[in-house]
Amino acid sequence: MISLGQLNLDSETAFTLLPELVMLVGVMAIILIPNLGNATFRMPLTNLRVPILIGGSRFETTNDPRMPNRIATATFAIAFASSLLMIDSTSEEVGGLLRSDAFSRLFSAMFIGALLLVSVATTHRIPAKRNAKVPADGDSEAVTSRKMAALIDNRRQVDFHILLIMVGLGMSLMAMSTNLFMLVVCIELASLSTYVLVAFHKEEDVGGEAGAKYFIVGSAASAVGIYGMSLLYIWSGDLSLDALADKWGQMQGIDPFAAFGIGLMMVAFGFKVSAAPFHLAAPDAYSGASSPISGLLATASKAMGFVALIRVLVMITIPDFGEESFWFLMLAVVSVVTMSWGNLAALTSENPKRMLAYSSVAHAGYMLAAISVVGSGLAGEEGTRIILIAITFHLAVLVLFKLGAFLVLSLLETEGGGHRMQDLHGLGKREPLIAGSMFVFMLSLAGVPPLSGFLSKLLMVNGIVSSSAGTGSPSTTSVYSWIETVDPVFFLAAAIVANSALSLFYYLRLSLVMFFEESERPSRLKSAPSLRMAIMACAALTVMCGIGPASEWLVGLVTTSIDSLLG
């Protein structure tokens, strides 16, 4: 038995933490295995090589630059399967800071699933090239691009995948945290890794700049959030979520320390979910990063923010039903601004990645609107449950179609495209299956039945509308009197519907150019079989999770997890 502070790592705990331990082992393996046989040991994420006494040159297999990717993919696959299986198991406390229950396991499955897709999608970026050099100023364009290609695909793969697994570790532990301190630390673990991943192509100007901006704004937001957390600590003297919730329940009126603390934490979490006006760095980061990483930011990273929001807003300040929570108005305003801003900005975006980034902002707005209804005091116990189910379901299926859309762009990146609308021109002729999948993703993002995006939006709007359903005076004579008397919550649903209508415009425009414009390049794209497989899987699941038994299964899973959260 190993003891790590409070944590006694006996066999039972080990089983409870299986996905995390698997990822830990994966990191170790990626650090060790590529060095096997070599006389020096490369410190990960650096250029330092430490001589060790035995060995010569590396083995054939350990020399293979695809090795880290394989290890990472296998790690994620095992971790994904184990966390998926653990959704049904009972809730377990680990070391006072973590709890493994259906809710946290559903989210860790979501995070790791997204990472698994990213990992599968990056396989094709790894041709065996060694001794890559940074392009010098005087190089010709051809030389620069050749050097660049070699550079992107060199042995920094090890670093890339270490970071990827660290993101997974951070996110997965974050979902399990029962302590606000642990929660923030895990968010930072995941966030710092994503900052580096965004800037991973540091030799390209866009990547470096995007990473730097994302890092600066993110750190500022985190700092504010941590300041808010310290206010909460002053107020309560304990950062455990249960203790905070108890304290909140006993509070008379609203203590400004607590309210400001939570308000400031909203800034940090608002940045994570890219809510307006904290979202501004997101489009830059999305377009600067490689597409799979952008997809990761848009799905897993966003889901992480929502877990934090749910934990803090719903679980700590769990509203007395029938009474409006202090954060209702704030969140409602933010949500409407966010969804409108996202959709409006996406409308004229000429870069598909930026467009998807703004669409992701808009989706955050929809989900924030749904959360704010919980705070309106109208939802009641059942309404809260339904809204949380809707949000969680949306986050889960978002992994499929938002990440899927980014993976399609990633396929275009293999020929250097994916940054302009023109790159998508004629994709329907060049790659009918890929274009068809992209079309499915776009329709699902827009919320067209029977795709999963429709179902999740339906669940959300259903939750909001049914919460406000009883409020309007049932006047049969005048619509106006109904509008005057109905609770403003109803108009959140109206805003979602109106925004969805607006969003159709740019989703369909992207689809349109794929099928009705002529391509500049008539040839087929690179084969990249694993990436294609990931895209197809996403498309198939997008359809299946919208209708039929698979969707019922997923809704059942989400319901279990929310029930375990609400106890």
């Binding site: 730097a212 901006k213 600066i216 704004v217 500022a220 937001a221 504010v224 009126g253 609203i254 400004p256 309210a259 400001f260 308000g263 400031l264 909203m266 800034v267 608002g270 940045f271 307006a276 006006p277 904290f278 501004l280 760095a281 489009p283 830059d284 202090f326 954060w327 108005l329 704030m330 305003v333 933010v334 801003w341 409006l344 900005a345 996406a346 409308l347 004229t348 975006s349 059942e382 339904i386 189910i389 339906l458 669940l459 259903n462 509308v465 049914s466 359903a469 607006l502 415009f505 209708i547 039929g548 969707s551 019922e552 809704v555 319901t559």
Partner: protein
């Protein structure tokens, strides 16, 4: 012949399809589980044909080995046929188990989330979208008709469509839509609730549009397709309203719920139910091309001939009859039916009688071989409607015995008519195809197209010697339609006419209208069907093209031969097995196909006695009048005008040569003065119904449509364009905030943070 031999090898490709059902049987599956195959296999096949056809258009294997998808279609329909046969076999084998429970399985539930249904808005009390199978004797009969004929027509199409150069590289569209059409009919027949019935009904509506407009570049075809679609749409709207009303009454559309106790112990208002059923009947009128929604059917001949066969025999028009047949439980007062619905029966019978007479009259002057058949279809379906009307009336009057007889006869006539008409259309297709072929052959390079119409019977004549199989098939089919004693339709038509008269004489004086109309129509049928045959096959050739006609195209003969046998012997065979009793057993005691008497001979005598010498003296008179009119007077007049021996040196096959010889024996009659009369002109103009409708549409719908178009263009589009331009300018403005500088981003975040603090300050203090 050599061509035909080499292509028979292609049938190997359909073997895997045919193997599915035996394999399932071997694996211990139940036939009720195979029911899904009837719809599912075509449903999977049709997109495959369309997509693969689009991708590999013109590819050698696709074109020659798979016949542009025809072989796949044939295979899929073969699976449906074999699964249907399996179900039929099981049904007879395990009849007691089926017993009262007609619905053999419920296998799919539409997505239903407890979440949405728990206590929120999207609750529904009964799951109206559940899919299941409803099997009773009517279902089985229609299922057999549909699967069997679709299979044969598809087979026929392999010859008819694929050898015509005009269809080249387009046939995948034909076969894809053909299969979808077929599955629409299969699904409609099997559906166990009215909603799914309606959905499949609409699939057929769509496919009829697509297939009638197969030659969409021809203006007449595009027009005909639109006309068929819009006319049936009128009926469909009424059907939909009827279904809404039905749902309002019963709170469900499932057969098992509704049919179990349609009166709900007297709680159902008969007037409301009457209107619901009437609305549904109008839907059936549209689908089955009855007066006054009959105008689309003759134009539907613009589609390829197999499509005509499909619409007229196997699928579409039978749907309306099926729907009316499904109304029986509502009116059957012996089994919880709602009393007071006699008027419905009268209306149905009148619509049937009027259509029967009118269509037969118009058929007198048609010269296009397919048009004659089209009007004949209308007329024969009208018989069935008349019979169903009488059956509804009897059921509602609790005259159970008479009701059962006439309902069974009507359904049996549906069977006989479908078999005969399917064959007649294919035979006419064979004629048209070969005449066209001969014409192309003869005038190759003369650029003489356009003047010659291969469908015009005035260009034919004397084909009996050139096309022996087709001539025989057509003769048997016509006889079945006419109701020549002992052949095909005779056994069912007699029953309809006799029982309609029984209703008129013994019970309801108003029934006399349909009764007179149908008996007159019997004679007229004798005339126009004989006329068609004599014009085509007897007499001397009326154009040089006809001299060069040969029966040479592969795939065409086999379905004709099969259906000739079925049409000739099916009637008497099933009559001996008590088909009428069996078919009307759905709503009473469980039925079974069996001999009426203990031995075959006694049964034959019983049936003959029943048909020719019924006990009721009135019926005996009616029966013999019908025989006289249809068997003697009609054909003899036709022979006098159009009959005649073949030209010198030609000899027909023995099967038809006797008829050719007889047709010359009645002398000849010149009817040119009659054919120039006002009546003939009115008939040629289809009694001006088309003009009337078009005039009405121009006065009513078109002004409204142009107003709607104006409103759409200016008001709605205007609003949308305004929204669009506002959104775009808003978008451009909001994007200027995204400067790309991290300083500005942080500034915005600070603004956001301060707003949050301000909001909280405001609320908490």
């Amino acid at each position: 012949m050599s061509e035909s031999k080499s292509e028979a090898g292609l049938l190997v490709y359909i073997l895997p399809f045919l193997a599915i059902v035996p394999l399932m049987h071997n694996q211990g599956w139940d036939s009720s589980e195979a029911a899904i195959l009837i719809v599912a296999v075509p449903f999977v096949t049709f997109p495959v044909i369309l997509v693969v056809g689009q991708l590999y258009n013109g590819h050698d294997t696709w074109k020659n080995k798979l016949k542009e998808g025809g072989i796949l279609a044939l295979g899929a329909l073969g699976t449906s046929l074999s699964a249907a046969l399996w179900i039929i076999y099981d049904y007879f084998d395990a009849l007691p188990d089926f017993g009262d429970q007609h619905s053999i399985s419920q296998w799919l539930e539409w997505v239903s989330f407890d979440l949405l249904q728990s206590d929120y808005t999207l609750t529904s009390e009964t799951n109206i979208l559940g899919v299941g199978v409803w099997v009773d004797s009517v279902t089985l009969m229609l299922l057999f008709v549909a699967t069997f004929l679709c299979f044969l027509i598809c087979w026929f199409s392999l010859g008819y469509m694929n050898t015509d150069p005009i269809n080249e590289d387009r046939n995948h569209r034909f076969y894809g839509e053909f299969v979808l059409f077929a599955l629409g009919m299969f699904g409609m027949v099997l559906a166990d609730n009215f909603l799914w019935l309606f959905i499949f009904w609409e699939i057929m509506g769509l496919c009829s549009y697509l297939l009638i407009g197969f030659y969409y570049w021809k203006e007449s075809a595009a027009y005909a397709a639109k006309k068929a679609f819009l006319t049936t749409r009128v009926g469909d709207v009424f059907l939909m309203v009827g279904l809404f009303m039905l749902y309002d009454i019963y709170g469900s559309l499932e057969f098992s719920v509704i049919f179990h106790d349609p009166s709900l112990h007297g709680a159902v208002d008969s007037a409301q139910l009457f209107w619901a059923l009437l609305m549904m009947f109008i839907g059936a009128v549209g689908k089955s091309a009855q007066f006054p929604l009959h105008v689309w059917l003759p134009d539907a001949m613009e589609g390829p001939t197999p499509v005509s066969a499909l619409i007229h025999a196997a699928t579409m028009v039978n749907a309306g009859l099926y729907l009316v047949a499904r109304m029986v439980p509502f009116v059957d007062v012996g089994h919880h039916g709602v009393p007071g619905l006699e008027d419905l029966g009268l209306i149905v019978a009148y619509v049937g009688g009027i259509t029967a007479f009118m269509a037969a009259a118009i058929a007198f002057v048609q010269n296009d071989i397919k048009k004659v058949l089209a009007y004949s279809t209308m007329s024969q379906l009208a018989y069935i409607f008349t019979g169903l009307g009488a059956a509804l009336w009897f059921y509602n009057h609790d005259e159970h015995h008479a009701a059962v007889v006439v309902f069974g006869a009507s359904m049996f006539h549906l069977f006989n008519h479908a078999m005969a008409k399917g064959m007649l259309f294919m035979a006419s297709g064979s004629v048209i195809h070969e005449v066209h072929h001969a014409h192309d052959h003869l005038h190759h390079g003369h650029g003489d197209h356009g003047h010659f119409d291969p469908q015009d019977m005035r260009n034919m004549g004397g084909l009996a010697s050139k096309m022996p199989i087709t001539a025989t098939a057509m003769m048997v089919g016509s006889m079945s339609i006419i109701g020549i004693p002992l052949i095909g339709g005779f056994w069912s038509k007699e029953g309809i006419i006799a029982e309609t008269w029984l209703a008129a004489l013994d019970h309801e004086p108003l029934m006399i209208g349909p009764a007179i109309l149908v008996i007159l129509t019997a004679g007229m049928t004798g005339f126009y069907m004989s006329r068609m045959w004599f014009m085509t096959f007897a007499g001397e050739p009326k154009s040089d093209v006809v001299e060069h006609v040969h029966e040479a195209t592969p795939w065409i003969k086999e379905p004709l031969i099969v259906l000739t046998v079925v049409s000739a012997l099916g009637g008497i065979a099933f009559a001996l097995l008590g088909a009428t009793d069996y078919l009307s057993s759905s709503y009473g005691d469980a039925g079974h196909l069996k001999l009426h008497e203990s031995t075959l001979m006694e049964s034959v005598i019983y049936q003959l006695e029943h048909a020719f010498l019924p006990e009721n003296q009135n019926l005996r008179l009616v029966g013999w009048t019908t025989i006289l009119l249809s068997f003697i007077i009609g054909p003899v007049f036709a022979a006098r005008i159009h009959g005649g021996p073949l030209s010198e040196g030609e000899s027909a096959t023995p099967a038809v040569s006797w008829l050719v010889r007889i047709s010359g024996k009645f002398g000849s009659q010149d009817v040119s003065s009659l054919s120039e009369s006002d009546l003939a002109e009115a008939l040629e103009n289809r009694l001006y119904f088309d003009d009337l409708y078009e005039g009405l549409l121009a006065k009513t719908v078109l002004p409204m449509a142009s107003f709607a178009a104006w409103f759409d263009r200016n008001v709605i589009d205007g609003v949308i364009k305004q929204i669009e331009s506002n959104s775009v300018s808003g978008s451009l403005q909001i994007r200027t905030i995204t400067t790309g500088s991290a300083r500005d981003y942080i500034l915005m975040a600070v603004v956001g943070m301060l707003s949050i603090i301000a909001l909280i300050w405001g609320i908490s203090s």
